[in-house]
Symmetry: C2
Subunit: 400 residues, 2 copies
Amino acid sequence: MNATTQASQASVSEANRARILQHLYHNGISSRAQIAKALGLTPAAITKITARLIDAGAICETGDLDGIKNRRSIGLKLDTSLFHVIGVKFARSLIEIGLFDLAGRRVCLEDLPPVSEDSIPATLDEIRDRVNRLIAADDAVVAVGVAVPGPYLRDEGRTAVVSSMAGWRTVNFTDEFAGAFPVPVFIEQDARAGALAHYLFDPAGTCEHLAYYLIGEGVGLGVIDDGRLVNGAQGAATEIGHVSIDVEGVPCDCGNVGCLERYCSAVAIHDELRRTGVVGDVDGLTHAQACQRLFDAAADGDEAACALVHRVGRYAGYGCVTILNAFNPRRIVIGDIVARAGAPLLDAIREVVAERAIDDIARATDITLSPLPTDAAVTGAAAVAITQFLEHPSVFFGDV
Amino acid sequence: MNATTQASQASVSEANRARILQHLYHNGISSRAQIAKALGLTPAAITKITARLIDAGAICETGDLDGIKNRRSIGLKLDTSLFHVIGVKFARSLIEIGLFDLAGRRVCLEDLPPVSEDSIPATLDEIRDRVNRLIAADDAVVAVGVAVPGPYLRDEGRTAVVSSMAGWRTVNFTDEFAGAFPVPVFIEQDARAGALAHYLFDPAGTCEHLAYYLIGEGVGLGVIDDGRLVNGAQGAATEIGHVSIDVEGVPCDCGNVGCLERYCSAVAIHDELRRTGVVGDVDGLTHAQACQRLFDAAADGDEAACALVHRVGRYAGYGCVTILNAFNPRRIVIGDIVARAGAPLLDAIREVVAERAIDDIARATDITLSPLPTDAAVTGAAAVAITQFLEHPSVFFGDV
């Protein structure tokens, strides 16, 4: 397959460098012999490539590996604390900026004030300033990752449509950020960024068939199939939020009817709370705050609140059944604002999956809430940068 | 990515052999120098690998390439007429067996009598007999490809559920066919097989982001994203026929509600024709025959028939919008029984896509009827075998 892809000698070298970096990232300290064996490369090739990576400062030698005393037992290490990345996460009205090391450990995190349509230009300036200040203060920063709401048209650098906040549609993220920093910047759809974060940092281990189901201000999905992101021709695949669950349903800004995100996003919940008054006046609150008030009321046993959380969970469950049928992942991780509803939400989702998914497939699929801290969103943006660092070392260390 | 995949030296050699075969398959006669340049391999490596492939009879040398007269201008060729494959296509009640060469040219084609629940064991015997007779009569046959309805659980060798014909659910295709022939056999979900057929044989050229939308006795989908099939953890991804378009809709055998295939498959159309009598009595007909009668009546201008084709096309269009949002392919090719309705169906599908898909994405997507002949279904089964031949040459020629 991929008949038209033409590899060059240089890209073969780059691929081998990347594989060595990734091996050290995922497996920790390893000897040259261990790497050679795992990657099917000759010892001579490993010696040559690792020597250059050491010269470039990408990796370093450690002392002898435990219990082994000979030349080949010297360990090689990718020190994940030596390199930092900045993650910037855009939601419709929320923006977070975080500084992380390569292992996804947070160094610091800042929230920007909520964004409205007319504050977008000022917000973009503010982001550039803050990121540049972070870079100026920290020599270890090697890249910036940006996570934006989908559908994100990667080649064009802009979002095709953002429900509830059309202003972002006119922003070209590539133009706004490409030359803005002294380090490279990489932009990705937010749920796909979340999938990368769980691929890299999930304490449950690396899963090669992973879906990250983002239920926040929008509803999004990132899918890793056999170790690779499902991207689509324009980088706009896996837009679960605009998959219809009712072809006669509620119209959506995207042109479709009955879009999933019209039923279970934080925006949809906020609208419902305004309409029904289930938890009192929610007019001055952000979408996240309104949702939190609902989840707190449900946790306190309020019947109407519990019923609404259950209903939202059922809708999220319909989306989950579609994810199973469309992508057949091994693990579905649910995150972002609405996931903070916790067990009652997850129970309702699992109830729907048990009722409606194909048994053989449902039984083989784990559905969990994200184990990453609540700032997982911005961690995804960092994961975008870290993934590029591990896949394209020549961008960071030259053609070593 | 794919951190846990461990390549060995042997698999690197196999990958290079496969890349050379694929290059010759897609680009025709090429010199060693052209292949070396295209694949980023050294001339020495090309010389070594091609010598072995020539010895094994996989490829051959041709005379000097046009206009070039030196040692490096000798052409290499994968003669697609030298190797044959057999394709076996299962639908719910239709089974076809075809003999093809590597370019997808049909040598012969046989239809089996329609299958009912109680004739399944006899049918399996009949298939084994016929395929073995074809192999015995033709030394060029190198492999058998089998296309089966989804969701097909590849590791287990069986279909998870088959709407309208539960009997096939108890059949383990791997057990039935794995040792049945003197050549290797490969089994794949039917719509994925169709995607491979269009990837290999579409006269419009190779498309790296391709969806094949099968609307036949079932509704299925095969997606090639960036040159690779989207498989899912169990090989059961892209089951568009069981994605719900109405969470309060018609129940399906799979457990879900409002499954797309309940609205636009040949089975659904046959049911509707029985219920409404639009084209008279259709009780004794196969699903394909009943559909053809509808399409003929519509072509003759029958108003009720036209309205039904339009309605079916609208439903197929809702599925198309989901395909755009879920997979963002560059090209969607529609095939199988219902595609024979032709332009009126395609027009209704495009009408729905224009209304409901995200503009930026709809504009970048070609939606067409399959340009392959009406036996495209069984061509897909052949494509499964051909894809394996091109990707795993050591299975056919040993570890050359």
